[in-house]
Amino acid sequence: MNTADAPAVAAPGDAAVRAAAQLVRDLPPTPALWCDGLRKRYGRRTAVDGVSLSVGCGEVVGLLGPNGAGKTTVIKMLLGLVRPDAGEVMVLGRPGADPSARARVGYLPELFRYQPWLTAAEVLRLHVRLAGADVPPDEQHGCLELVGLGARAADRVGGFSKGMQQRLGLAVALVARPELVVLDEPTSALDPLGRADVRDVVLSLRERGVAVVLNSHLIGEVERVCDRVVVLDRGRVAASGTLAELLGQREVRLHLTGVGPAAEARLAAAGPVEREGEWSTVALPADDDGTAVPCLVRDLVGLGVLVHAVEPARISLEERLLGILRAGSGDGRP
């Protein structure tokens, strides 16, 4: 519904209709991807056990977890490739069981191949047709150039290396102007340059308002591009949230001498302080805009304190992930 039309539809003075229109306008935007209570068993083994998650438009969400945590199975259930035993999926506002929900979805599978007897350009043309999209050949070629395969458009895919196939897979995922892109281990076969390219692609997708689900073993990659992270362990969501929520507050460690009462008061004003000899650790506020540390150092120097060292400290996503997984196993699994 075009919300701009709402006042024209409502008769002047019809307060109830106007209130209803306002209510609809105020509803939170439909997430690009949403699932609730997904379950999947293979024989006796439970692969996915009650996974719920949501990805907003223009949001980049990372899926993390050890091997066999159920990440790929969750992705396949979201895309209708695996039938869930229970649970509900909505893709771009439509039920996941309806194939047309995937009209604006791009997907790069983890283990895949494209028809080896087709050329790279033909693979893209095939996917544009299957998506029911109308993408001119120039734009299709642009996708190949974006992933560095512009010069190989007329070559058969059978002769491509694994890394080139992965680049082609990224082009396939992007070619039909998707609103949601699901990348399952998109950089597993890529060199460092290729990984940087993928990062740039993901960031440019986010800028264009495209939602991205990124499943990657490379935690650094996830940390750099993702707005939110969902950690899966043994088929369940072990933790989820924004990076700031998951990683907690930032800290700064300071090696100081000549600390007077005024300097101590200034330290305490910056945040909770822990002292250990000449070292002080200050927990910074979550809403720090990056000026707290330089201002603190400037003020301490002004108060006559000798500042020997300033070490920003932040728990890495990797440490946090390992912490979550070890806590989940309950027995201090190595």
Binding site: R83, P109, L111, W117, L118, H127, R129
Partner: protein, 285 residues
Amino acid sequence: MTARTVLTIAALTLREASRRRVLWALVALTAALLVLSGWGFARLASVETEFGAMTSGQARLVASQLLNLVMFGMSLIAALGTAFLAGPTLSGEVESGISLAMLARPVRRSTVLLGKWLGLVVFGSGFVVLAGLAQCLVVELTVGYWPPDIVGALVLLAGQTTVLLTLGLLLSTVVSPMASGVVAVGLFGATWIAGVVGGIGQALGNDDVARVGTVSRVLLPTDGLWRGAMHSLQDPSALAQFGVELEGFPFLSEAPLTLAYLAWTVVWVAMVWGLAALAFSRRDL
């Protein structure tokens, strides 16, 4: 959208057959069969029996029998070709991961299956019709025999190919690509042999043995369709002349197909296709 997807997949299947050299392998095999049979039929015209040279009537009769034999070879090539194409087309693509990206598109699996089936039917039937027609022309040029109902024969042979590739598709939704090809061709051969056994049973007047052929022809209609095609290819006077002596002979068909049997074949194909679609749409990739 659905029709567009079906045609896209059908065209893709045909392109695969041509780019994977299946087409060229079939063309080479068929050309060899045509040249050899042309040579054989040319020699037939000049064969002398112990009673002297064959009359033109005898030559036509023998030619019509030989034509059935050669056409059986042709249908075997088509059966092997399509069964081994139909097998890898689904389970092979699932195993290799080709299906993952394709089926994540806004397409129904049954639509993709229909496209593949259509492509294979066009490919298999096209081959049978062209190769069969070429074979009949060779026979016409060498011994001057032209089958009484060439159109009917070719349609039934195309039907036989369709039946077998539909079975290949169903098998490929549940077993591995190689197994599905092997099982489809094995069943094809078993049904033919059961048909021959049934014919012998009929000749000997043993109803139980004769029933083997009837039952197998209902379970898998390839042999029934083949017998119908033979009937359209053979000289009508052959039956009148050899009817009693050659009862049970595997390359002589006694009666044309009934409408009921043709209807059953259509139902069989629809049923097996439906099962394949159901199995494919429920399969986890």
